[in-house]
């Protein structure tokens, strides 16, 4: 049952990524050229709605649909890993035009070359795992 719920959430996510055009390489390029409000509007509305909802969940100690307490885990207080990792991610995001959610949506939409991007992203993840202890965090 729970598996069906995760699948349905994923399907809605995939449809949203495609129909919002957040999965379009062109929209990412246009965003970094500051030539349209579209992507900023999407991220802005998502974050404002997210901030309000997250605040309400904490304020009223909302429980999950299964009655469990909802926990938010603060991320470790560091700077280098977020800045350096973020910059590398941004370079790749602008070049490939897809982040880790939309890249899977594009597989379903039939763009087979995106499989090359996914394979390379897996390789990047693997190499990070190998080098983790040698990198500044």
């Amino acid at each position: 049952m729970r598996t069906i719920i995760y699948l349905l959430i994923g399907i809605v996510f995939g449809i949203t990524m495609f129909k919002s055009e957040a999965a379009s390489w062109f929209r990412i390029y246009e965003m970094f050229k500051f030539e349209a409000f579209h992507m900023y509007g999407i991220i802005g509305v998502a974050v404002i709605t997210g901030v309000i909802g997250t605040f309400l969940i904490k304020r009223f100690r909302v429980r999950s649909f299964y009655g469990e307490p909802i926990k938010f885990y603060p991320k470790e207080k560091k700077v280098k890993r977020y800045l350096f990792g973020g910059i590398l991610f941004g370079l790749g995001w602008a070049l490939a035009g897809a982040c880790p959610g939309p890249m899977f949506t594009l597989v379903g939409a039939g763009f087979t070359p995106i499989l090359v991007v996914i394979a390379a992203a897996l390789a990047g993840t693997f190499i990070y795992g190998l080098l983790k202890d040698k990198l500044p965090h």
Binding site: G10, E21, Y29, A46, L83, A96, P100, A120
Partner: protein, 185 residues
């Protein structure tokens, strides 16, 4: 219902993304897609090479199901919910991209120059896809999250580390588009 066949406006799209995050929170999970890449590495046996991949991947199976859904959702949206898939980007952006050699700008969902099946035999395009994908995977894990984990989930929880990561995403993206693209294309 005709609106569903049109590209969704930013306010609908942004709200839907927040809704997806809250649905995941309400079923006791969280919204973060790049963690799946680590899980996939673990399934492929990366745990034999690095401790980073030694974790109970079965606890992350739910997120792989979300990925499967994202693939199916892409199929549904492309096959049944889209009449015209060309992305109507700013005409200035179109002109700019055409000057760089992206003839398909304004006429397609993704640039043919990088995502047509002919790229499988085009060394340069293939190399760019590989470099781009590699940086996304490496950078997401280094930063501990991607657009969903940091820009949406982290900023919604007012996490300073996520703000630093998002600033990094933009520094990287701006460097790529404004300084590296003119060298590549």
């Amino acid at each position: 219902m005709n609106w569903i066949y049109e590209p969704w406006p930013w306010y609908v799209s942004g709200f839907m993304i927040a809704l997806i995050m809250f649905l995941l929170i309400m079923v006791g999970k969280n919204f973060g897609m790049s963690g799946n890449l680590r899980t996939m590495c673990t399934i492929c046996g990366a745990g034999n090479k690095a401790d980073f991949f030694r974790f109970d991947w079965k606890a992350q199976r739910w997120n792989l199901v979300v990925v499967l859904g994202a693939i199916i959702g892409g199929f549904i949206a492309h096959e049944f919910l889209t009449v015209e898939e060309a992305v109507a980007i700013n005409p200035n952006t179109v002109a700019d991209l055409q000057a760089l050699g992206f003839e398909s700008a304004g006429k397609a969902y993704l640039p043919n120059e990088l995502f047509d099946t002919s790229v499988f035999t085009d060394i340069k395009s293939l190399a760019l896809l590989i470099i781009g994908g590699f940086l996304v995977g490496f950078g997401a894990r280094y930063a501990g999250g991607c657009t969903s984990g940091h820009a949406i989930s982290g900023l919604s929880d007012l996490q300073l580390p996520s703000l630093i990561a998002v600033i990094g995403f933009f520094i990287g993206g701006l460097i790529m588009i404004h300084f590296i693209f003119p060298l590549l294309f």
